[in-house]
């Protein structure tokens, strides 16, 4: 009984880029800045592809919500081994108010529409660090969730998932369908090779809008301001140990 997987991918600012705040202090500069697929989403795609290679999965649909450039992210996922793509178009101007709740609603609707067995996401996106989408999607669908997954195995009844938690590793079992989110140690993603990149150009990608899925785009959160972390202050040189102790006392770090 081969499964169908829906993988979510987000186009984010590349991890190596130095982030700069926009002059209006309501966001960061994205124009002309290098973007790439969210690293945790790469891991999610890789896991789906490995499941397909192990014949557990027979179709991988990749979905990305974003402006026109989100197509690059979808093509990368197709080059890694996904079968077809869905591009949910969000105009560039709306990207600032497009939030995880909207994504969750889109994913939930698509999961039902495409009748998938697994929704596979990255555990968080490296731009907002929200770590909400997988959980909210599961909740909207009323499906079990296996988030922060570092190992996923198929069982007769569904899935066995090892999760990374604060105290160590937790093993859970879920039925299918389920929503999963990939943690860092789940796998090491492959690089897209040229022949696969060329093949990916021929794979089908369907475009749609959130309205087509009946999703209301009104923001629930308003960004008030975005600021740099405080500039590091110059250190003070102390002349000897007594001086150091005195300064520590002054600043309230030592009562002795």
């Amino acid at each position: 009984m081969a499964l169908k997987v829906l993988v979510g991918c987000k186009r984010v600012i590349d991890y190596a880029v130095k982030i700069r705040i926009k002059p209006d202090k309501l966001g960061v500069v994205t124009e002309g800045v290098k973007h790439s697929m969210n690293p945790f989403d790469e891991i999610a795609v890789e896991e789906a592809v490995r499941m397909k290679e192990a014949k557990l999965v027979n179709e991988i649909i990749v979905v990305s919500c974003g402006p026109a450039q989100a197509m690059e992210t979808i093509r990368t996922a197709l080059a890694m081994g996904a079968d077809r793509g869905i591009h949910v178009e969000i105009p560039l101007g709306q990207m600032d108010t497009f939030q995880p709740l909207h994504v969750s609603k889109v994913l939930a609707k698509l999961a039902e529409k495409e009748k998938v067995d697994i929704v596979m996401l990255g555990k968080l996106a490296i731009d907002d660090d929200a770590n909400q989408t997988a959980q909210m999607t599961a909740s909207l669908l009323d499906w079990p969730q296996g988030v922060f997954a570092s190992k996923i195995d198929k069982t007769d009844a569904g899935l066995e998932i090892i999760r990374e938690v604060d105290g160590g590793l937790e093993t859970i079992r879920t039925t299918l369908p389920a929503v999963l989110s990939a943690d860092l140690r789940l796998n090491e993603p492959r690089y897209a090779t040229l022949p696969n990149i060329m093949k990916a150009k021929k794979k089908k990608v369907v475009k749609m809008k959130p309205a087509d899925l009946g999703v209301d785009m009104a923001p629930r959160i308003q960004v008030v301001s975005v600021e740099d972390p405080p500039v590091r202050e110059a250190g003070q040189t102390v002349s000897d140990v007594d001086d150091l102790v005195a300064k520590l006392k002054d600043k309230g770090f030592s009562s002795a």
Partner: protein, 527 residues
């Protein structure tokens, strides 16, 4: 004072630009007798070696008019924030990752464009100041050591752009601040990679300067096979393009092969300000394998047979039993302490499978032990952990020690004998010298460990290293396969090329750098 008579007799370049209060130059001109200050000063500047002729050292003259003028002229070119003579800055810029104690330059400048580099060279030429190019400081041969002081030109800090990527032509144009890992990260998404991997995350332009190579050379070549064009600034400030302006065809018969001349010139002919390099397609399928052998001979025989079967190996690394022990201890592994081959296969899925089969059989024919192999990315990473961390594993064998890393390269057939002789020599001298080899190229490195506080131990390491290099030359090989000559192998270079060969190099150097300002004291000795 030892050395001074030689200086006096060799007083060549007395510049009229300096005031007579420059004691050292004045001595050279025979005007002044050295007073006590100057004697000490000249000693401190390390002028006792007969190889070194003093330039006007800036640290001593920083407060003089000419020193201040030089600094001002440099600040005008690059901006005051991009000139530094701070102690930690100059210290960092004189010391690379090799065992040789580096000498700090007097001043470090951080240009932001090729034009600025050109202006800096013009100023240094005018004042007769040595110029030392600096990339990432990851070299192993003291190539950045400012033996005569001078101006260190750090071309990587501000000149750090990838200028062009040509996906369909498989080439990229990069500035010195782009390291090979940065380039790889950038082209990954296009299904491309830059295969020259010397271990360190070195500047690509720096790799051109040293003619670098790495674990993938057996299949993908060294920098020499992967560089199409270089933009170079000469000592007098002229900017040239070694294959033609903007040229990047796969082949050319146009003019002298200047690209080849500058590749591996170790900063002695000019400063590389951009490089056009070749990219390759990421292989469809990659498999890694590890197999142990009772002796090095068995391992090398396997390598020779594999090459003769024309198996297009991507990586073939030999780790001897001392290295395996170090790796086991450092990375918590449990390999048998015998020589091992670490292998990597690239190609389509079927090609990789058939290549792996072929080599497995050859290894078995040569007394090979268990043949472990892996395809998944993280399994391959785990399998290769031992090899990747080899250097750090060696240093951990004796915490606090440093390593004199040798770099001989011989025709593959000569490898077993040379390796056996070397291991015997290391044992005889009572040294610890783990061995890692790019056996597919006939190139191997021994990490001769020494206590930095024990000059006798260092001397023994040098003795073993020199003996190894001489044997390599006698066997039809070279004293340095990939690290370059720097300072440590100049004598060996002369033995390898003979007097006439070196004289031709000196003539070329003299033509391009008549004042002998570009990275003095490297590659070959001055007359």
């Amino acid at each position: 004072m030892r050395g001074l008579p030689q200086l006096l007799s060799r007083a060549k370049r007395v510049r009229v630009g300096f005031s007579a209060s420059e004691p050292v130059l004045a001595i050279q001109a025979g005007i002044l007798q050295p007073d006590k200050f100057t004697q000490t000063f000249v000693q401190l500047r390390g002028l006792q070696s007969s190889n070194v002729i003093s330039q006007a050292p800036l640290a001593a003259v920083a407060d003089t008019d000419s020193g201040k003028q030089l600094r001002q002229e440099l600040e005008t070119i690059v901006g005051p924030g991009n000139v530094s003579s701070g102690e930690s800055v100059v210290l960092q810029h004189g010391q690379d990752e090799g065992p040789h104690q580096g000498k700090s330059p007097d001043i470090v400048v951080f240009p932001s464009s090729t034009e600025e580099v050109s202006e800096i060279c013009k100023i240094c030429t005018k004042h007769n100041i040595p110029i030392i190019p600096y990339g990432t400081g990851t070299g192993l041969e003291g190539g950045i050591s400012a033996v005569d002081g001078g101006v260190c030109v750090n071309v990587s800090k501000n000149m750090n752009k990838i200028l062009q990527i040509h996906q369909e032509d498989f080439s990229a144009v990069v500035q010195p601040g782009i390291s090979r890992e940065m380039l790889n990260q950038e082209v990954r998404a296009d299904g491309l990679w830059f295969p020259v991997d010397p271990g360190a995350d070195a500047s690509v332009c720096g790799m051109c300067a040293t003619g670098a190579s790495g674990t993938n050379a057996v299949r993908y070549g060294t920098m020499k096979e992967n560089c199409l064009n270089l933009e170079v600034v000469l000592a007098d400030g002229r900017i040239i393009h070694t294959a033609g302006i903007g040229s990047r065809p796969k082949k050319s018969s146009a003019g002298y092969n200047l690209t080849s001349l500058f590749l591996g010139s170790e900063g002695t002919l000019g400063i590389i300000t951009s490089a056009t390099v070749c990219l390759h397609a990421i292989p469809e399928s990659v498999a890694a394998a590890v197999v142990g052998f009772p002796t090095v001979q068995n391992a090398v025989d396997t390598v020779v047979m594999t090459l003769q079967c024309s198996v297009p190996m991507a990586r073939m690394e030999l780790l001897d039993e001392v290295q395996m022990k170090a790796c086991n201890e450092y990375s918590g592994l449990s390999y048998p302490e015998t020589p091992h081959l670490f292998l990597e296969f690239h190609g389509s899925e079927s090609e990789v499978e058939s290549q792996t089969e072929t080599v497995r059989d050859i290894a078995a024919d040569n007394e090979g032990g268990e043949f472990q192999w892996a395809v998944q990315q993280e399994d391959r990473t785990k399998l290769w952990t031992a090899r990747h961390r080899a250097y750090y594993a060696d240093i951990a064998l004796r915490p606090g020690c440093r390593s004199l890393t040798t770099d001989v390269c011989v025709p593959v057939s000569a490898l077993p004998d040379l390796v056996t002789a070397t291991k015997a020599d290391i044992a005889e001298h009572g040294l610890v010298g783990p061995m890692v080899g790019h056996v597919g190229d006939g190139n191997f490195h021994t990490m001769l460990l020494f206590d930095p506080a024990d000059p006798e131990e260092f001397r023994k390491c040098k003795e073993v290293a020199n003996k190894m290099a001489r044997s390599a030359i006698a066997l039809g090989g070279t004293c340095t396969g990939e690290h370059g000559v720097g300072q440590g192998k100049m004598v060996l270079l002369e033995e390898q090329f003979g007097k006439d060969g070196i004289d031709v190099m000196r003539q070329i150097k003299g033509a391009l750098d008549p004042q002998q300002l570009m990275n003095p004291g490297k590659v070959f000795s001055r007359n």
